[in-house]
């Protein structure tokens, strides 16, 4: 009888550990789906944004074509999570540069359509930033559980490996006032 109880307790502990690992892994996947949705939303904005600015922005042709190229790459099927994360950083940086360049074109800066696009882009960037933070927290929880004793043994048996987090820029952490940056009132 005591032997059976001991076996029962060990089996229960193993089941709980297994379920906890699966829950953390699924949490990461679920939140990455949210990140992906936010990234897609930003990709959807790009054609409209490029179309609105290209006739004014004569000196930024290279930047605009780079953004279009990044979008095409980002929409390719079968991209890995790491590739998506790398592309996200490039798109964020390129769009940031584009938005700062808008400052050099007073007509463009005052254009109602551009102001609306800036606000929508700003909103999407905030959603992406939130999704990245949620993803990083989920990955941290996941990395912790697969490295902590005793779940680390089961994790290695299940072939669960560490995942990478998004690199959060310092400026994003500080949440700079975009209104001041764009000077859009």
């Amino acid at each position: 009888m005591p032997f059976l109880i001991a076996v029962g307790v060990i089996a229960l502990i193993l089941i709980l550990m297994y379920n906890a690992l699966i829950a953390r892994k699924n949490q990461v996947d679920n939140i990455f789906a949210g990140v992906d949705a936010a990234l897609k939303k930003r990709f959807d904005l790009i054609p409209n944004l490029i179309a609105s600015v290209q006739e004014y922005m004569t000196h930024e042709k290279e930047l605009l074509s780079n953004i279009t190229k990044l979008r095409t790459e980002g929409l390719k099927p079968n991209l890995s999570d790491t590739e998506k994360m790398a592309l996200d950083q490039q798109v964020t940086s390129a769009l940031g540069t584009l938005m700062i360049s808008v400052e050099n074109y007073p007509d463009l800066k005052a254009n109602e359509n551009i102001i609306n696009l800036q606000r929508t882009l700003n909103e999407t960037e905030s959603q992406i930033a939130a999704a990245r933070r949620a993803y990083n927290q989920a990955v941290t929880d996941y990395n912790n559980i697969i490295e902590m004793f005793p779940t680390n043994y089961m994790a290695s048996w299940m072939n669960l490996t560490r995942k990478e987090v998004f690199v959060i820029d310092e400026h994003e952490r500080e949440n700079i006032n975009v209104k001041e940056l764009f000077n859009a009132s």
Partner: protein, 321 residues
Amino acid sequence: MKSIGELTDFYYNALYPSLKALEEQRKALAVKAYKIFALIALLALSGIAVRWYYFHALDLLSLMFVIAGAIGAAWSYRHIIQDYRTEFKMRIMKPLIEAIDDSLRYAPVATVSQSLFERSGLFQGRIDRFTGNDLVQGSIASVDLQFSDLHVESVTRDAKGNSHRSTIFQGLYIVAEFNKHFKSQTIILPDSAEKIFGNVLGSWLQSKSFGRDRLITLDNAAFEKAFVVYGNDPIESRYILTHTLMERLLNLKQSVGHNIYVSFVDANIHIAIAYNKDLFEPTVFQSLLNYDNAMSYIHALNLAVGIVEELKLNERLWSKE
């Protein structure tokens, strides 16, 4: 919106004639109240003395004299200050609130509705008594806002069938329009579990909190130490709670010095500040011209109306118009 300095000037200059008239009324009331208290105390003591003289007993009945005296004193006090209280609200609070911003409307006997209180999801449990006063409504920098004093209680019965009231919340309750679109629910409560049980056990207990959504762990250590966050969409909770807003809420908690509860539900921010007392009430035994008393009204009003500015709810950086 006027600054605290401007409001203080307004209180002592523009409201001075009203304050002076009310101050006379207050002095007379204070004397009247002291007389009534003395009379009631005398009656209670006589009752106790008679009981002692004839029955040589200091028992439950003697205690009943004290309790009856206290109830009588409280009732009489409430009754005699009624007119003075109404006049104070109409002649001092109303102009003071209108001076902050002329879009603000004041209703001394109304409250934020119970449905708006329940919608916030901040407090659990059945509400049996919902009272309050001093409703202020208006729009500050195009942000709709309302707040009032609230006292929300539940009633429980013990084994003997006696009912007991317990306070769910007492303090200032503020509802304002939030400047971002969101569909989910995010609730921020004071972090008592981690304070009592420490980080590891505290966060485990928080994650097991019944009747709450999922625990959201945020990337700001000071905020995590002060608050616990529950939400049904971890991404949207972080979309609302940016690093800047977390800092602003921490500052708000620090400047208030009381527990604060915040929720984001139905496109609005709900803030409950547990002062555990009724604010905006006139003093009877202290002068209305007393600087500390004046500042307590001005600070509380400035804080409630200043939420819009403090949390930058008027910033329209996103697509929400």
